[in-house]
Symmetry: C2
Subunit: 474 residues, 2 copies
Amino acid sequence: MNNKITSREEDFAKWYTDVIQSARLCRYSAVKGFVILEENGYAIWENVQKRLDEMFKACGHKNVYLPMLIPESLLKKEAELIEGFAPEVAWVTHGGDKKLEDRLCVRPTSETLFCEYYKDVTKSYKDLPKLCNQWCSVVRWEKETRPFLRTREFLWQEGHTIHETAKEAEEETLRMLNIYKRLCEEYLAIPVLSGRKTEKEKFAGAEYTLTLESLMQNGVTLQSATSHYFGDKFARAYDVKFLGRENKQEYPHQTSWGITTRIIGAIIMVHSDDRGLVLPPKIAPTQVSIINIDNKDENINSFSTKLQKMLSEKNITSEIDNSDKSAGFKFAESEVKGIPLRIEVGKRDLDKNIVVMVRRDNYEKIEVKTTDNIVEKVEELLSDIQKSLYEKALKNREDHTYTATTLDEMEKIISTRPGFIKAMWCGNKECEEKIKEVKGIKSRLIPFEEEHVADKCVACGKEAKHQVVWGIQY
Amino acid sequence: MNNKITSREEDFAKWYTDVIQSARLCRYSAVKGFVILEENGYAIWENVQKRLDEMFKACGHKNVYLPMLIPESLLKKEAELIEGFAPEVAWVTHGGDKKLEDRLCVRPTSETLFCEYYKDVTKSYKDLPKLCNQWCSVVRWEKETRPFLRTREFLWQEGHTIHETAKEAEEETLRMLNIYKRLCEEYLAIPVLSGRKTEKEKFAGAEYTLTLESLMQNGVTLQSATSHYFGDKFARAYDVKFLGRENKQEYPHQTSWGITTRIIGAIIMVHSDDRGLVLPPKIAPTQVSIINIDNKDENINSFSTKLQKMLSEKNITSEIDNSDKSAGFKFAESEVKGIPLRIEVGKRDLDKNIVVMVRRDNYEKIEVKTTDNIVEKVEELLSDIQKSLYEKALKNREDHTYTATTLDEMEKIISTRPGFIKAMWCGNKECEEKIKEVKGIKSRLIPFEEEHVADKCVACGKEAKHQVVWGIQY
């Protein structure tokens, strides 16, 4: 709590790690590139899990758990997958004192094992679809790491489904993207663009990848969730078949989709400010901090305890700070932790039958009569904070969404104030690579609803095929 | 569902794996010694998690997540721990293409990393206690594996706490054992003995280990949960210190405690029968199966749907089987899966305003008038099934708890009908080893309330120090 937080203006990257450290969300561990998710960070993940798990189950998905280690021989069956992941997996070569014949990698993703599993349990079209999900951690041997955004181990969920027809699998791919969209927009207050990745940026081995992209306060974009359609490629590679309606062996069509703890990085960088973390009420582990100005006062104490009970009855989570620290210190602590609403309970105020509520998002102070329905007022404010955070984030995105028709324009945007850039593209990988040379700009997605912002490709001047959204990325 | 289940009488081990396979709880994977937790098995674990997590949080424990890989150099700091675990860990030697300088083991347990973490975040006695818990998977390179009971990877939770005083840490050790006891007895309907492990059987590095032991239907015992007190041993090895009340640096006192997916093995072997899985209602993912005798009948259909809705309002989980399979097949399927109560909805019965309920535990059939309060009847039956399962398990344990004063008696018991054996012990490891030569009998625990069943040690005839409970184990 003695940590001074660097301002966003001064150094955004330093601000980001300062916020994480002050709020005790996570910290580096004794293992290089691996972090510890501390209680405040893990509690956010638990809430993300809870919301998503409910939505998955409502669509009929079931959770399972597959091994964390994958034999090299199995991984090699799908050529693109091994190519994509081999350089960044951790290899287990010894079990106890013995060297293993077939070395095992710590899962970077589990398509291969799900294929093996589905192969075993799928006989007929009557067994389809199979809708499985797994909550687990994966390891990818990244060279550069950054808390939440890129670490050698991270937590995620990976859904894997197989279907009788391509149509059903494609519908599933989109349906799951929309569930992530709902999570981001309704719960995390993060507006997202949705669309399809280019061939260059899609998942290794997928037919295509759908993605959600969000914009941080500094104009850097973040891939927030992805959903992949595999066609029957993996099924063929792993020999997953079923007896179809025509009494013939057929290959099922497959999807996978995931979201990771990196979404916590997005929550931080979309909402927080120079005083520390700002959390949307619907995902905040603690929604209200009740601060006793004087920790010895009996009236204050009993009022706070009663208030907490009333809030809890309406499923509003709160904590009472009754420590002997100064009021100012307690306010700052509650701000640093991103608690959406603080209620200050003081002696003089109580004598006048009021408490002061302070919004974390805009510091607005509201005097509330204790004779009024306080809980209703809290519900109203929390709901308004949730809405305001979304609107503020949306405005930031709109203010920093640009259109460009030349590479010079793109360069200027990124150098001045980056954001999403709409520009046309001919469809060639070479042009994507050329654009990447401009300050590392990458294609983020081809939107589901393309706009015609020009006739020609921004890079080569040839006829444009797609409108693409571009940006620099985490 | 074409699987015939071997009877317990004929071959208990085969029966166990048949039950698991028929109920689709788990299966072996492509990775030797590793299993896949299928949806029915994982759903039981999710319920165990939910119950425990609520109890942990009510005591003030917070969840965190630490890295899955531990550097060898760090592991080596506590001599007993590395000795205990080194022969059975998986070693990561390469990250991507590069050989690691310090190889990493996949965590077999996380005391070492928690010590490193606590060292970083503990400054003063005001920071204590630290009460953390972690839900994760661990790897131990077992030679012989058996679904749920012993697999190379398993899911568990591991609680790790540090305290200002030895007294507080010892209280915590016992408190957490009692939480597991509550889980086992109240939710899983498994009666447990509680007590302390002998020096020989305690956890590597602990001052002492508290344990819960349960008895399977075949008289084999199962260690069901453990809680360890470490004193300040780990704190000294890993240099975890805090500034005490007397303004001096002190070492904190530590505990750890865990329960694993092996408890699902206990649920199976304590309750199930020759027709398949039997689950206690409080832990069953689906509590009621509603079986439509005729899947084309409109009345049946609408009745079942209405019933399911009514049950759901009382938080009773149910599934409707409206498939075109035969009624007998559907009944058997519901039995194999261990669903505690089945409700048969048939045309002729509905015409007479009745449905038939069948208990999974004792096959009792109950005709219930549809004009009565059906939901209340279901609640009553589920509650009675829960109680009956516990009582039946307790009776099995009581019927197979013996007293012995000689090794011959012990051998006879194990050869005839095994169970828990109460016998006196002098306190020497040599005698424990001598007893182990008798059909592999091991000490299970020294009960908190010892009985004086004889004066002399059952093995050497010297003066007895303790009454010990012995048995053969999984």
